[in-house]
């Protein structure tokens, strides 16, 4: 009877985590990919993120904000990844070709070029700048939530976002020259 309850409890946990996985897998992968610029490494670190998340979740740790929880794990893994072998973030060309449905080839070429440039510049920004840009502009998280995840005030986060955007733009302009 006790075993049965345990099994049922475990099945429920799996079900809940399965939904969390489905909801956040794309976001976490993208977050990691934009920091490591490698499909293979992004896959490794993303799967490790969810594995650690699942281990913690099934061991009964209360997770109030799954998104923040997973991003925290992912951030730490990326930091460890660069720290591990003294790696530096390498700007690389095509790692994840971006498909765009636009028909106009010229416009598409310009856009792809711009987007790739952003991708390449973003990977070299400092971590807080990357995070605030990804979370606010890609994940559409409100400043309030981004502030919580960065453990900053909302005002400080707005300032950070503004600086991040400015730095990104400068870096792009610099590359365009």
């Amino acid at each position: 009877m006790v075993l049965e309850v345990d099994i049922r409890g475990m099945a429920n946990l799996r079900k809940i985590f399965s939904q969390i996985y489905d909801k956040y897998i794309d976001k976490i992968y993208r977050f990691v990919f934009l920091k490591v610029n490698s499909e293979e490494i992004a896959q490794d670190l993303t799967s490790e993120t969810f594995l650690r998340g699942w281990e913690s979740f099934k061991n009964g740790n209360k997770i109030e904000n799954p998104q923040a929880f997973l991003y925290r794990i992912a951030r730490n893994l990326v930091i460890d990844h660069y720290r591990e072998k003294g790696r530096t973030q390498v700007v690389s060309a095509e790692f994840a070709p971006i498909v765009d449905p636009r028909e106009d080839l010229e416009e598409k070429a310009i856009l792809t070029s711009d987007v790739d440039r952003i991708k390449q510049v973003l990977v070299n920004l400092k971590e807080d700048y990357q995070n605030v840009i990804i979370w606010h502009y890609l994940d559409d998280l409100p400043i309030q939530e981004v502030a919580k995840m960065l453990d900053r005030t909302e005002e400080a986060t707005r300032v950070l976002l503004s600086r991040a955007l400015k730095t990104l733009k400068q870096s792009i302009d610099l590359r365009n020259q």
Partner: protein, 232 residues
């Protein structure tokens, strides 16, 4: 590039997505047993009594099915024996000799299969099973009365044919002395009974042939002729 354009371009990065096959595979690696547990845990308790009953009967049904083709020495063979014994409970005393002869024939079929397929290890248990059933058949045959002879003729004939077949394959004699003795007694009683009756010339010829078969130990053939004389 204006700030607005820049933000627009940043948003284009949303197109970065993991490969679907990798997403599915990774999920199954992390939460591998989700689907299996979903079936066994959430479904089973609701239907436990019914499901358990159906499962038990299903397993029994399948086991009995497979057991029918099992041979002595096989894992499922005891189930086949249980099935035969259970069936015997529902057989009337009059039909029991015939039923037991059928079982002996089954044992001979098994022996034949074992011999044909050269399953040496199964030979000893098969012969042992055969002898046990011969003994049982002999006991029930000892109770056969005149009017019941008809019931055992066919199976007795089949038994002799099967026995010969197995003996040919194994190149050795199969011992059925106990059964032969009983059959001999049955045939002898029947011949004596017929000798006391008034018979036509033709019937006397048939009786003489039956006597010859009896003397030669061909009890099934003797019984066939006795049957012709008993039911003119």
């Amino acid at each position: 590039m204006t700030e607005k354009q820049l933000i627009g371009r940043i948003r284009e990065l949303r197109q970065i997505k993991p490969r679907k096959d990798w997403v599915v595979l990774t999920k199954s690696q992390i939460l591998g047993e989700v689907e299996r547990e979903r079936v066994s845990v959430s479904f089973f308790p609701l239907w436990r009594p019914a499901l358990a009953t159906v499962t038990v009967f299903g397993i029994l049904f399948i086991s009995f099915g497979f057991a029918q083709s099992s041979l002595p020495g096989d894992f499922l063979y005891p189930i086949k024996k249980i099935a035969e014994k259970s069936q015997a409970v529902f057989v009337s005393e009059k039909e029991l000799p015939k039923y037991n002869l059928e079982i002996v024939n089954k044992r001979l079929d098994e022996l034949n299969e074992i011999a044909q397929t050269n399953q040496v290890k199964k030979l000893a248990p098969a012969i042992s099973e055969f002898q046990a059933n011969v003994s049982e058949a002999a006991k029930s045959l000892a109770k056969v009365k005149g009017q019941d002879v008809e019931k055992i003729v066919e199976e007795t004939k089949k038994l002799e044919e099967n026995k010969k077949k197995v003996e040919d394959v194994l190149a050795t004699k199969i011992e059925t002395e106990e059964l032969d003795n009983v059959l001999s007694q049955i045939v002898e009683i029947q011949i004596k009974d017929l000798e006391g009756r008034t018979l036509t010339e033709r019937q006397e010829e048939i009786l003489a042939e039956a006597q010859n078969d009896f003397d030669a130990g061909n009890y099934s053939q003797a019984l066939e002729k006795i049957l012709i004389l008993s039911n003119p």
